[in-house]
């Protein structure tokens, strides 16, 4: 099966910042992303879990965005501008995709 090189960018960010991030990604030309719920985690700001929470202040999501390698720097710049002052993690992996025309 014919596959094409791409980059998979996974951004773990506070749920409250989700819309700001995806707006910034869209502004940077991103055409698609997938949002995964996060159940809990731990980091420098301590452990947390979404169980029983009703507030939107706690809780994170993972935004996964697959893009052509040549366009990833633009994506990272846009993402960084949003996450800069916030907690969260950005992680980039090499990958292959089917149907490259979609990215």
């Amino acid at each position: 099966m014919q596959t094409h090189n791409a980059k998979r960018v996974e951004i773990t960010i506070e749920a409250i910042m989700q819309k700001r991030l995806t707006d910034a990604l869209t502004a940077a030309g991103v055409t698609g992303y997938t949002i995964l719920p996060v159940f809990g985690g731990s980091g420098r700001s301590g452990p947390w879990s979404r169980e029983g929470q009703i507030g939107r202040a706690s809780g994170m999501v993972q935004v996964v965005c697959i893009r052509r390698p040549e366009d990833v720097d633009e994506l990272l710049d846009a993402a960084f501008a949003v996450v800069e002052r916030h907690i969260g993690v950005v992680c980039v992996t090499d990958c292959q995709v089917l149907r490259a025309e979609r990215f």
């Binding site: 506070e14 409250i16 009703i54």
Partner: protein, 324 residues
Amino acid sequence: MDILTLAANNLLSPIILSFALGVAAALARSDLSIPQAVAKGMSIYLLFAIGFKGGVSVADHGIDATLGLSLLAGIILSFLLPLIAFALLNVMSGLSRLDAAAVAAHYGSISIVTFVAGTSVLESAGIASEGYMVAVAAAMEAPAILSALWLISRGDSGRKMENDLWREIMLNGSIVLLVGSFIIGMVTGQEGLAEIESFIVSPFKGVLCLFLLDMGLVAGRGLREGGKVMRPGLLAFGVVMPVIGSVAGLGFGVLLGVSTGGVMLFMVLGASASYIAVPAAMRVAVPEADPSIYLTLSLGVTFPFNLTLGLPLYLSVAQWATGG
């Protein structure tokens, strides 16, 4: 009823005991937990019910001048309290400017569950209150955030309010649901209430028990994790500030000449601290402020204080002040 009987009655109500059970379970590291979706579902139910009932009560008694003045009083209270809280924090705690402002915002805003628990204490005591106090509660959610942002921008002129943030605050889910169901209740009145009474009135207190069980679990977990940031000065603030807030509420309530129940609810609104709308706004606007400070303080200290000792205290004072 004297204040001690009131306090004892309150402490031994299923509502408070459910909260205590939650705290105890979390501190003992039990795996008891309520799914996030269920907790959110219950909060939607409570907001819808309390808004609707408030609206119906206004439909019954008509709109008068006091409604407008009460809204105004609530807004002023919400603007003012953060300034007092900020000054107090500077004296009582070693918090940074940003952390102090973020905490202050919480105390100008309100906790709708504390408000609900307050109305429930009133009901048990058979004391009426103005239905529009729900609208006052909604009006007090947001202004405090502006005060806090102003406090911050004084020290950091580079920071300016993000465009989207204000809309996000004003249209946050709990305000929209509270105001929306208030209007629905006002429009449909007793007739509407009769249709859905056995959903929003009869099971209300039972749902509140389970909801407080959940809040106890979350507060207990917060105390376990965030307890280490709670230095004595901060802890004292978490008890002193609600009392100050209640006095401010008392002043406004008496000035406006609302009923005994209304005065008590003004005190509750002044005393209670936000733990939903304001934390979310602070994460966006002041991400550098440490959330474990304001969440632990609001949910782990002030909320239980209000729930257990505050409510009977405020009711006694309101009765004394209004001669009711």
